[in-house]
């Protein structure tokens, strides 16, 4: 029996975010295989309840069965059902009855099931994307985002209009990425927007080819969101076949999240944002203006930094080093491509602000070391040698990056005046982040959490943070 295999050149292209059709086909076949294996395991775990359904499925037209079983939402259900059965849950509670519905769908060549679903389809220059809008299956809640209510006909029209424009954009200027998207994406699950951010999307490792995404405000947002999420799907499929990281899941910095992430999470972000960076690179070159250049500059640095960080860490397997190396090699030449100096400054500041904010949010400084520093300051002694230890203590909850500075940058680059609120004084994260961005002191720029911790320990509001930072930098 053949094993799934990728030639090294294809693996490298995949790592660079440019898989060819044969590679996508290999990943897609592997995911179908995964669904088939899960079905087998489900039947074995609950034979009495599933025997007839499995027999009916086995008797149906094989092509129809593959089409039904390959569906991303079937994968989502099967993983959930199998996990529940493995935990010893009652088969009915595990959702076992769905197997019989699969058999019915395959027996009717999927037509009955398809008739109830909305479809979006867009074509341009010989390239077609054809996806199902999944707005009713309860399993869709397993993407972790709140599903949108059942769409009205008007909602579907809006989705189609956005997809039409997004597809025009993607095929017109990003054809290679569009081809991958068309080959991978099968289902869109509309979700409600996150209160903290305007647009949100998600994928699941159990639903290759499905994207949960809130209604886009613009076609560009939809295009970028779909490209981003398709990368996650592709990487999930890669990780199913090849172990990329085997080291400890030490939480660390992720340029696109305010919360700490394990190495697998950082890799996911780097791979997804590689596609986003490539999109904005093309848009900037096509006259997309300062906002496109800003997004390109911002994400190229973040992706390169994340890739270098992963390569420098322990834990990548040989396949992981090849993959991350290929990702790094794709983005690295982009770092020296010119963007307008003011745009580069804004992008660098946005990334620096995120890093500072992350450190202040997630790093706790050793209390006894802080007390030692505070005592030395009060006594007028030189700064003790060595930085105090810090450890990651994540604030509760998942946190997408949300930055007033980025919003301000977009406003300024779009020709607006910006509506930034004055930075408050006092001991606030905003103040420390602002100081970290403008201070000449290395301690504030690189370890603002240490300066803030010592400042708090001193308990004296007359202490000048810059003076304290200069002492800590000495």
């Amino acid at each position: 029996m053949r094993r799934h295999t990728l030639p090294d050149a294809a693996f490298a292209a995949l790592a660079a975010g440019r898989p060819d059709a044969a590679t996508v086909d290999e990943l897609t076949r592997a995911q179908l295989g995964r669904h088939l294996l899960m079905l087998r395991a489900i039947v074995r775990a609950a034979p009495e309840q599933t025997h007839d359904g499995y027999a009916a499925l086995a008797a149906a037209d094989p092509a129809a069965v593959r089409a039904v079983v390959a569906d991303p939402i079937v994968g989502l259900w099967a993983a959930s059902c199998l996990a529940a059965l493995t935990r010893g849950e009652d088969p009915e509670h595990a959702g076992i009855e769905r197997l019989a519905r699969l058999a019915a769908a395959a027996g009717a060549h999927g037509l009955a099931e398809q008739a109830d679903h909305r479809r979006l389809r867009a074509s341009r220059d010989g390239l077609t994307i054809d996806v199902r809008l999944e707005d009713s299956d309860p399993v869709r809640a397993r993407f972790g985002l709140t599903p949108a209510d059942r769409l009205t006909d008007g909602d579907v029209v809006c989705w189609q209009e956005h997809l039409d424009k997004a597809w025009d954009l993607l095929v017109g200027r990003h054809r290679e990425a569009a081809a991958v998207l068309a080959a991978v994406l099968r289902v869109i699950v509309p979700v409600k927007p996150d209160p903290g951010v305007r647009g949100i999307s998600a994928t699941s490792a159990d639903a290759y080819g499905a994207v949960a995404i809130s209604a886009p405000a613009t076609a560009t947002e939809l295009a970028v969101g779909l490209l981003h999420e398709a990368q996650h799907s592709v990487l999930n499929a890669v990780r199913y076949l090849f172990e990329l990281h085997a080291g400890p899941d030490t939480l660390g910095y992720s340029p696109w999240r305010d919360d700490p992430r394990p190495p697998s999470g950082v890799l996911h972000g780097a791979y997804a944002y590689l596609a986003v960076t490539r999109f904005w690179r093309t848009e900037a070159r096509a006259g997309g203006g300062a906002v496109a250049a800003f997004e390109f500059a911002r994400w190229r640095a973040a992706v390169a930094s994340a890739a270098e960080g992963l390569l420098a860490s322990d834990g990548l397997t040989a396949a992981g080093r090849r993959f991350v190396g290929g990702l790094r090699d794709e983005v690295r030449p982009w770092l020296s491509e010119p963007v307008p100096p003011d745009v580069e400054r804004l992008a660098t500041a946005a990334n620096a602000e995120h890093r500072a904010r992350w450190r202040l949010r997630n790093l706790a400084v050793d209390p006894s070391a802080v007390r030692t520093l505070a005592d030395a300051w009060r006594a007028g002694r030189p700064r003790p040698v060595g930085d105090p230890p810090t450890r990651v203590v994540p604030a509760p909850g998942r946190a997408l990056a949300s930055s007033d500075r980025v919003r301000l940058a977009h406003q300024l680059l779009a020709g607006g005046a910006g509506d930034e609120e004055p930075v408050p004084g006092g001991d606030t994260p905003q103040r420390w982040t602002g100081l970290a961005l403008v201070s000449p002191q290395p301690a504030l720029r690189e370890t603002p959490e240490i300066v803030a911790a010592v400042y708090r320990a001193l308990g004296d509001p007359t202490v000048d943070p810059e003076e304290l930072a200069a002492w800590l930098s000495s």
């Binding site: 799934h4 030639p7 090294d8 899960m38 972790g144 076949l241």
Partner: protein, 66 residues
């Protein structure tokens, strides 16, 4: 485990430890057929079972707003 063919091979490749069952029918994947513990199919089944029981958060989310 996945790996590359020895150096010197004309076409190095990455070989997964997961077999391709996508072309197998449901009858061929008979749930009640005995599989040898060390067979590639048994390995694939164990791997899939391990995957679903591991806690995996959805990869979310991307703020696409500009």
């Amino acid at each position: 485990m996945d790996g590359v063919l020895p150096a010197g091979d004309a076409q190095p490749e990455w070989r997964s430890d997961m077999i391709d069952v996508s072309g197998m029918s449901l009858s061929e994947l008979d749930p009640f057929a005995r599989t040898l513990d060390d067979s590639p199919l048994a390995h694939a089944l164990r791997r899939v079972a391990e995957d679903v029981t591991r806690s995996r958060e959805p990869i979310a989310g991307f703020n696409s707003a500009l």
